[in-house]
């Protein structure tokens, strides 16, 4: 190569000539590759690439601009969360699993906590208010996750403005999360037995205002993208995967619903009281990137409908408990969000430090040792923004998970990349990946 850049060099290998490209040296690369007789080029796209949706490495074999083989390399964000959780209590596990799919933390927490509750046999003892709050938080989370999917998806296809709008909407949702849990992401808010703390005063009226604002704002992105001729050309008929392909590859979520299959665990296998809400399962029958985009767009309104119904329920549940009554499971400290962040309530501190030795012992035992979970195994699943998030939990009767495994929809759905992309243009690979919406934190765990 003509350049003297040490990082943009080329060398001969048994597989052919290998070029290192760092950007800015495309002209010399194109000249040099153009001089060779080789038609077939293998391109490593990622793991650091702006349009691969995170540290995803795509290995693309090209004939001209056509992709003949597409493989994905993953594992760059593997952090051993499942192994780590085996060394923490069941309650501490929430703090770990919330960091898996970091755009849908509440779904990870909910799936995990539903599993722990099933192992404990307290599924029916979880207070109604806790379930309503869980549903509301999950639907808000679905909105914020879909907003990132839409915004970054559009950005990767060259449309900058939808991203600006999408992140504006996401910010409103994150403000709600901050008001309720004290944190914007990875909030470990859903706990085995209920939720960490009750809603702050006036939360419901603030939520209603935000719902109104979101409903108004969603129109901006819909106007910008639906019917936009560039957007339609980049998404329609791209990344085709029909029902047979989805079933054999175990695909769930918007990708499955874009084939016309109305499969949504909230309807088919309801949990946390989803059967008490009135909402529709959105489907399209185009099997392409546009169909998946449209599903995410229309699911926003369904989520708002569920949140409104949850608000009505919360009005009637003022002052109701948000954690199981069993003091051997419920977290002892009464947490609340104050002006300086989340902390223990002063009344609780006074009780354990000044009034009741037994309360102090109880607090200490439950926090350091944790509660015991009867031996056995369960599998629980929730409908996350990306599909079925399943949790397989094994307990040996101890205070820590014996084995914790997440069946991550991102991990599973990313397998469909080859089926969607082979035979298409390289530019459409970006659209197909964006429509799967993989979150690498969930893929690699």
């Amino acid at each position: 190569m003509s350049t003297t850049d040490a990082y943009a060099s080329s060398r001969e290998t048994t597989e052919g000539r290998v070029y290192a490209v760092t950007g800015g040296d495309w002209d010399s690369l194109v000249t040099e590759i153009g001089a060779t007789k080789e038609e077939r080029v293998v391109v490593n796209m990622g793991p650091q690439h702006p349009s691969t949706h995170g540290v995803l490495r795509l290995i693309l074999e090209l004939e001209g601009e056509t992709v003949t083989e597409a493989r994905s390399g993953i594992g760059y964000l593997h952090t051993g969360i499942e192994k780590n959780a085996e060394y923490r209590t069941w309650t501490q596990g929430v703090t770990f699993v919330t960091r898996m799919d970091y755009l849908a933390p509440l779904f990870n927490e909910a799936a995990y906590c539903l599993g722990v509750e099933k192992l404990l046999g307290i599924t029916d003892d979880v207070p109604e208010k806790a379930s309503v709050i869980r549903v509301m938080m999950m639907e808000f989370n679905r909105i914020s996750s879909h907003m990132v999917a839409l915004g970054t998806g559009a950005l990767e296809l060259g449309a900058l403005s939808p991203m600006i709008f999408a992140f504006r909407e996401r910010e409103l949702v994150l403000d709600i999360f901050e008001m309720i849990s004290g944190l914007r992401m990875n909030m470990a808010y859903i706990r085995p037995g209920g939720v960490a703390q009750d809603l702050p005063a006036n939360a419901v009226s603030k939520i209603r205002e935000t719902v109104k604002e979101l409903r108004h704002n969603f129109k901006d992105n819909a106007k910008m993208l639906i019917g936009n001729s560039i957007w339609m050309k980049r998404t329609q008929g791209i990344g085709y995967l029909d029902l047979a392909g989805c079933v054999t590859l175990g695909i769930t979520g918007p990708v499955l619903r874009s084939t016309g299959m109305p499969w949504d665990l909230r309807k088919t296998q309801p949990y946390s009281g989803y059967e008490n809400y009135d909402f529709d399962v959105v489907t399209t029958d185009t099997c392409d990137v546009y169909g998946r985009f449209l599903i995410r767009m229309l699911e926003l309104e369904e989520s708002l409908r569920i949140i409104e119904q949850a608000c009505d329920k919360l009005d009637a549940l003022e002052g109701a408990p948000v954690m199981v009554a069993d003091k051997k499971i419920a977290w002892p400290s009464q947490l609340s969000v104050g002006a300086d962040g989340m902390g223990n309530s002063l009344n609780h501190i006074r009780e354990i430090m000044g009034e009741s030795m037994e309360s102090l012992i109880h607090h200490f035992k439950l926090v350091t040792e944790g509660f015991r979970v009867p031996a056995g195994q369960v599998y629980t699943a929730v409908e996350s923004p990306r599909g079925e998030t399943g949790v397989h939990l094994v307990s040996d009767g101890g205070t820590r998970p014996y084995r914790l495994h997440f069946r991550e929809p991102s991990f599973n759905n990313l397998q469909s990349l080859s089926a969607m992309c082979e035979g298409s243009f390289i530019a459409d690979v970006v659209a197909a990946v964006a429509s799967i919406d993989p979150v690498m934190g969930g893929v690699d765990r």
Binding site: I74, G75, H78, G80, E82, K83, N84, E86, Y87, R88, K118, L119, G121, V247, T248, L249, G250, I251, T252, M261, W263, T268, Q269, T368, E369, G370, A375, G376, Q377, V378, Y379, E388, G390, H392, V394, D396, G397, G398, T399, R400, Y402, R403, H405, R407, F411, N412, L414, Q415, D444, R445
Partner: protein, 212 residues
């Protein structure tokens, strides 16, 4: 499953609880008796009817916490999976992957592979469980039955060292290609770095005194 000594499962320091003579063991649940309840009886009946070698292939049927688990002999796994997928009255068309569990105490059956299955047709879930000894960690691959098993089996191989015979390309998927060992096995240490804080050292999570 596992045996615990003492009252608080103390490890890493002397037991001062006075309960050090106490031995607790969590017994694994035995076979369940009919009726299993719900649709589980239908699933068992239909499988027995469609698959004559049922009693020969299914070691145990366990119903626990509202979930059905079929323990399958590993050499019969593919046959059973095909019947479960293709029989119209069963039709478990979605394989949700595979998850490994390592039970070092179960001598001769240390490595388990657990397959959650979903039937969208009948809106049902069941689970298959297969065991293999650590000395011969081979389990037949289900990629031919459910293509979705591909990456899940690679992950289970990566984490547990279970070799799925017949897999089209069984390589590590999450850990680097040249990684030694299989991290999710119970004899594989968590590792970690001791933390120094104000002159004292806090050991790594797996080395700390703990209550189990």
């Amino acid at each position: 499953m596992s045996t615990e000594n003492g009252m608080f499962g103390v490890t890493g320091s002397g037991d001062t609880s006075g309960f050090s003579g106490l031995v607790r063991s969590a017994a694994s649940t035995g076979s369940s008796e009919r009726p299993y309840g719900g649709y589980f009886d239908d699933v068992a009946d239909d499988l027995e009817r469609a698959y004559p070698a049922f009693s020969d292939s299914i070691e145990r049927v366990v119903v626990d916490r509202g979930e059905l688990t079929l323990y399958v002999k590993r050499e019969k796994l593919v046959e059973v999976a095909l019947v479960l997928r293709d029989e119209p009255s069963l039709r478990f068309e979605i394989g949700l992957g595979v998850n490994g569990v390592h039970y070092p105490e179960e001598v001769g059956r240390e490595l388990h592979a657990v397959y959650p299955l979903l039937s969208m047709t009948h809106n049902r879930r069941i689970r298959l469980e297969v065991a293999a000894p650590e000395s011969d960690p081979h389990i037949p691959s289900l990629v031919e039955v459910w293509a979705s098993s591909n990456w899940h089996e690679r992950e289970t191989y990566d984490m547990f060292g279970i070799i799925f015979d017949g897999h089209p390309g069984l390589t590590r998927i999450l850990m680097p290609d040249d990684w030694p060992g299989h991290p999710q096995r119970k004899d594989y240490p968590l590792g970690g770095i001791p933390i120094e804080y104000k002159g004292a050292t806090v050991p790594a999570p797996s080395e700390r005194r703990a209550y189990r």
